[in-house]
């Protein structure tokens, strides 16, 4: 292989790699909050908190959201699935009539809203109460 061929092929590969990086930076933008707002039906908003709904089951909705935007941590509870992101907490709970209700809150509001479930796992839980989910798995390791 000639020297010129090495240079040309090397530059082609470099450009492909750079294009991949650029593509991720352009098309990979967004966040879980945007994804949920575009994918599910809006119900109500209160400041940085928003509620959405879906006719799909909570496990399907939570799985889809986690597949699109991988959470840093997640919790299951008999009442719902909880996904934790850097600045947001997403909770997917069953609707009484079927389907799902999706709550998107910033970290502080989500922590307060779902305190009995996430308190001992994602924060400095300092209170007690009936039905509280305690230290969570791995807390003692």
């Amino acid at each position: 292989m000639s020297n010129r061929a090495h240079i040309v092929l090397g530059l082609v590969v470099a450009v492909l790699g750079a294009a991949l990086v650029l593509g991720v930076m352009v098309f990979g933008r967004g966040n879980v909050r945007d994804h949920v707002s575009q994918r599910y039906r809006f119900v109500q908003r209160d400041g940085r908190s928003a509620v959405y709904s879906s006719p799909e089951a909570p496990s399907k909705v939570a799985g889809d959201i986690a597949k699109k935007w991988e959470p840093a941590d997640r919790l299951s509870d008999p009442s719902g699935f909880f996904l934790r992101y850097r600045s947001d907490i997403v909770a997917v709970t069953p609707e009484p009539g079927g389907g799902s209700r999706i709550f998107v809150d910033d970290e502080d509001r989500g922590y307060a809203r779902w305190y009995p479930v996430v308190g001992g796992n994602w924060g400095t839980y300092s209170g007690g109460g009936e039905g509280f989910r305690g230290g969570g798995p791995g807390a003692g390791k």
Binding site: A14, L20, P78, G123, G135
Partner: protein, 244 residues
């Protein structure tokens, strides 16, 4: 005759020591619950009991752990009926049953894990429902195996409700006030990097490799030229020696 009885006594003593050691190993919490800490398992039992009471369905987990280094298999088992008790005695039950295999360091095969849902409810939840929610048995051989088992087991009541064979347990947001100063901790890294980091790293690696390749094409002639010039100098030197 005395030698034979002495050997028998020594054997009996050895067996008794061995049985005591085995009893200690089996009775220790770590051996009884190879995945979950005992406190976590007890908490899981409590939460499953609350769900079972509301839904009239029993829930449980049973994970067999085979560690080739340790040799002895271990069982992590429990249900809303208690630790080390399965839910099969209930009229309706759903149970997570799994197997984990940790291979020896000298072994070439990888650690592996599998699980499935067992239920006696005809239209009850199935294993794909668990995977659809984003839970995979592979997590049982990862560093957070306890979290994976805890979450997967605690998802059973909701999956059962989704299957339409039990009422859904309603969440109660804002059910309990947060004490002043109580706050979330352990903020995670960038969501964007977590989502795109692998592709980004791959693109960066390909770009760097391409640049190295092109750089090789640029510097190659200089090295070849030096080498050719060196050989030419040697040949010139030999010729001049012959002339003299």
């Amino acid at each position: 005759m005395r030698a034979a009885s002495a050997r028998a006594a020594a054997l009996a003593a050895f067996l008794s020591v061995l049985s005591v050691a085995m009893a200690v190993v089996v009775a220790s919490p770590a051996a009884a619950l190879p995945v979950l800490e005992r406190a976590d398992a007890e908490e899981l039992v409590t939460l499953l009991a609350e769900a079972a009471e509301e839904q009239d369905v029993c829930y449980g987990w049973r994970i067999e752990v085979n560690d080739e280094e340790r040799g002895l298999p271990g069982w992590d088992e429990g249900s809303n009926l208690g630790l080390n008790r399965g839910p099969e005695s209930c009229a309706r039950f759903v149970q997570l049953v799994g197997r984990v295999r940790f291979t020896a360091e000298s072994s070439e095969s990888e650690d592996s894990a599998s699980w499935r849902l067992e239920t006696n409810i005809p239209a009850g939840p199935r294993t794909p429902d668990l995977e659809r929610a984003g839970y995979s048995a592979d997590a049982l051989v990862g560093p957070r195996d306890d979290v994976a088992l805890f979450n997967a087991t605690l998802a059973l009541p909701l999956l059962t409700a989704e299957a339409g064979v039990a009422p859904a347990i309603t969440a109660e947001p804002d059910a309990q006030p947060v004490a002043p100063g109580d706050m979330p901790t352990g903020r995670s890294g960038s969501d964007w990097l977590r989502q795109n980091g692998e592709v980004l790293a791959l693109g960066g690696f390909v770009a760097a490799a391409g640049l190295c390749w092109a750089g090789y094409g640029v510097v190659k002639p200089y090295f070849e030229g030096q080498h050719t010039n060196g050989r030419q100098d040697e040949q010139d030197g030999e010729e001049s020696t012959e002339d003299t």
